[in-house]
């Protein structure tokens, strides 16, 4: 009898727990409605540190604009892209403001999914549109109209641990070649720390962001000027072989698990000597409150082979879907979050290293920022100005963009190919096999552009 009671109690607690889980799930999905005169804005964003800062500071905006409340929905990059695309493309209207990557802005703008921000931004003199970085602004425009504003922009750089270099008795130049980096990585690869951290997590925005820049500087490209897929070209294969071998010889352990966040953890805890990734990482590594390697890191240009520069160009931007019912309130928030005042607010409350970089030219002339970000501000400015999204590789290309191809099919192509390359990284197949499987997928997407 006693056991029967416990069994029943057990069962009911299971049921209660299950119901609670389901209800919690429902509560997360709703929102976005306006209640009693207050406008509730739902903002979908990537869970990067700069966005978390924005959430922390939203109170200031809400105080200045009584009647507007902003709710943040944070997601991992891949999940966000999927959720926002599904929401915007189907017109569901769940989000009032979305963070959109540089890859999607021109495509979504052309599809008519995003609100044209040009009139609102030009009307507001204090906003100073001309101050936004020109290459970033170009990447976000469709026929001269701005469909999103950059919250922060970035390129890719090589970060290295100066202490480990000194211990190994080697140095690195300001513009290293990939061959030099590979040689250094092998020297620095010890049982205590790996030589270099490179992204291996399958995904076009994970593995293929750095890998595409390597492909381009090796003379390869996804497509030639007539949209013929070039994945099976020898240059593409050389680059991927180089990347996979570098990972095998001197890379971090378990690369298929690793992307930006994982590598950041490894660098932060002194487990790797070099890291080729987004320049925005420097500001996190230099924050003495969270980083163990602050002050120990050096920063140089992205390694090259046949080109002069090979850094990528990326920005996370705020855009307003056409489906929102609160365009005015949303525009107010977008302007606030990308304004010069916001930069001052971040600097004064959270610290000057946390100011979102790469969006405004004037950021790099704020004296406090220049001082606090002395380690990485000059190189960021330098790289952001010298990259060329119109022709990043050796040969001309029919799209604007560096580490991605601005066609709707690319995320699918990049994703499937990244899975094949991950198999090659794990040694389950060869790079040749992986690229042979990738070529027809890329070609099918290229054929759609020819029409």
């Amino acid at each position: 009898m006693k056991s029967l009671i416990t069994k029943r109690r057990l069962l009911s607690s299971v049921v209660i727990l299950a119901t609670a889980t389901v209800l919690a799930g429902c509560a997360g999905a709703g929102g976005g409605a306006s209640t009693g005169g207050t406008v509730q804005l739902t903002l979908a964003t990537v869970d990067n540190p700069q966005m978390k800062d924005m959430e922390q500071l939203k109170g200031t905006f809400e105080k200045e604009n009584p009647g507007i409340k902003v709710n943040f929905v944070q997601m991992e990059e891949g999940d966000l892209r999927a959720a926002v695309t599904a929401d915007v493309a189907s017109g569901a209207g769940q989000y009032d403001i979305v963070t959109v990557g540089a890859y999607e802005v021109p495509q979504w703008g052309a599809n008519g999914w995003l609100t044209d921000l040009t009139p609102a931004l030009k009307a507001d003199k204090s906003y100073d549109v001309g101050d936004l970085f020109p290459p970033v602004r170009d990447a976000l425009s469709v026929k001269g109209d701005l469909y999103a504003v950059p919250f922060y922009g970035e390129s890719s750089i090589l970060m290295y641990n100066k202490t480990m270099f000194a211990k190994a008795g080697i140095t690195i130049s300001d513009h290293p070649t990939w061959q030099e980096v590979a040689a250094d990585a092998k020297v620095l690869n010890t049982p205590d720390h790996a030589g270099i951290c490179l992204r291996g997590k399958p995904g076009w925005g994970d593995l293929f962001a750095p890998l595409t820049t390597v492909v381009q500087t090796f003379g390869g490209s996804w497509y030639d000027n007539n949209w013929n897929a070039q994945v099976d070209s020898p240059q593409f294969a050389d680059a991927v072989n180089f990347y996979v071998n570098l990972l095998k010889d001197a890379g971090e352990a378990d690369p298929v698990s690793n992307s930006f966040t994982e590598c950041l953890n490894l660098v932060n805890s002194g487990k790797v000597a070099m890291w080729y990734d987004a320049s925005v990482a420097a500001s996190i590594l230099e924050d003495p409150k969270t980083s163990k390697v602050a002050g120990q890191m050096g920063y140089v240009h992205a390694p090259v082979f046949k080109t002069k520069e090979s850094g990528w160009l990326w920005s996370w931007n705020l855009a307003i879907p056409k489906t929102t019912k609160h365009v005015d309130a949303a525009t107010k928030f977008v302007e606030w979050a990308t304004s010069k005042e916001y930069e001052q607010l971040v600097g004064k409350t959270l610290g000057w290293t946390r100011v979102p970089p790469g969006a405004r030219t004037s950021t790099y002339s704020i004296p406090e920022y220049k001082k606090a970000a002395a380690a990485f501000a000059p190189i960021t400015l330098d790289v952001m100005k010298s990259v060329n999204p119109k022709q990043p590789g050796v040969n001309p290309q029919p799209w604007v963009g560096i580490q991605y191809v601005t066609i709707p099919e690319f995320q699918d192509v990049g994703n499937q190919c990244a899975q094949f390359v991950a198999d090659a990284i794990a040694g389950r197949s060869t790079v040749g096999d992986a690229l042979a499987k990738c070529q027809p997928i890329a070609q099918a997407a290229g054929d759609k552009q020819k029409k």
């Binding site: 056991s3 416990t6 069994k7 057990l10 299971v14 727990l17 889980t21 999927a82 695309t85 599904a86 493309a89 189907s90 495509q107 599809n111 291996g200 997590k201 399958p202 995904g203 352990a253 378990d254 690369p255 298929v256 698990s257 490894l266 805890s269 487990k271 709707p408 099919e409 995320q411 699918d412 994703n415 899975q419 991950a422 198999d423 990284i425 794990a426 040694g427 389950r428 499987k437």
Partner: protein, 310 residues
């Protein structure tokens, strides 16, 4: 109990017409629920079938049109379907088998009386209550991580080199996690089975000189058969839909692209609604065929049920 049942069936026998009329009352009571569930399950399915006949890429909203069976041609001639079916069968089958075996072990242990049995039982059930995404994150970061994971720390203590689980053994990674998560479920069902066993018969067996192994093989196991079947069936149904650990840990590489993950990829990364719907329809069809065959031939619960009805 048996006496009352007999008196009910052999007692006052109503005439056929009356009985038929009387049987409509319970049917009428069930009808609203039946209609509701038909609407709820079949309308989405019909819509999915319609979607599967469309050329519909979300990023090209101006090009939506019927392309009839082209999506199905892609499903059956493309390189994705068969490997994905194989992954699904491998991952589901192995996880169900392992969690059944380990669950049976735990159930046998928990069937004994000992101090702290309640606490032990609650602790063992916990993995099943953790949300799948949270479980996947726990395993990714605290258990299997190559630098700080507990499993690799354990290997290190034994003097073994760390294992890059996700890179080198993606299928095993997923199976380990699923087994961890579903063992408690299997254990609960099997424990209920064990506790419903008649102690007198077991005692009689031991008086007759049967050892614990023989008792288990010839008394307990036949008694448990129905419970094992139910546990396997429910476990398979739940594991067929598994998604979170694959999305969080392996991203579909190295033979972990199950049908549910493939569907997600086609719909949310390929943004190809038509193709995803076609994969969905084919998956449902395959599952139904397999499930029907399995139910008819393997599971005694259902076979006997049919015999009794006839």
């Amino acid at each position: 109990m048996t006496a009352t049942m007999q008196s009910r069936t052999t007692g006052a026998r109503p005439r056929t017409a009356e009985r038929r009329r009387a049987s409509w009352v319970p049917r009428g009571l069930v009808l609203p629920a039946l209609i509701f569930s038909i609407l709820l399950t079949q309308i989405p399915f019909v819509v999915t079938i319609v979607f599967s006949l469309l050329n519909w890429n979300q990023l090209r909203p101006s090009e939506i049109q019927f392309n009839w069976f082209h999506n199905y041609v892609v499903v059956f001639t493309g390189p994705d379907f068969l490997p994905s079916l194989f992954s699904t069968v491998t991952i589901t089958g192995t996880s169900v088998l392992l969690s059944l075996l380990i669950g049976l072990g735990f159930a046998l242990l928990l069937d004994r009386k000992f101090v702290g049995r309640g606490i032990a039982r609650t602790l063992i059930i916990t993995p099943f209550l953790v949300m799948p995404a949270a479980a996947a994150l726990i395993w990714k970061w605290s258990m299997l991580d190559v630098n700080v994971g507990m499993i690799n720390y354990g290997l290190h203590l034994l003097g073994l080199p760390p294992v890059s689980w996700n890179t080198d053994f993606p299928v095993a990674t997923i199976i380990i996690l699923l087994t961890w998560q579903f063992t408690p479920f299997m254990m609960l069902i099997l424990l209920a089975g064990l506790q419903s066993q008649n102690r007198d018969i077991l005692e009689a067996a031991s008086v007759d000189g049967a050892g614990p192994l023989r008792t288990f093989r010839w008394m307990t196991l036949p008694h448990l058969r129905q419970y094992i079947e139910i546990a396997a069936l429910l476990g398979t149904i739940m594991l067929l839909q598994v998604f979170d650990p694959i999305a969080i840990m392996t991203k579909g590489t190295g033979g972990t692209k199950t049908l549910s993950y493939l569907l997600y990829e086609r719909a949310f990364i390929g943004l190809n609604i038509g193709e995803a719907a076609a994969f969905g329809v084919v998956t449902v069809a395959v599952t139904m065929v397999v499930a029907t065959l399995a139910l008819r031939t393997l599971f005694r619960v259902f076979i006997e049920g049919n015999v009794r009805d006839a």
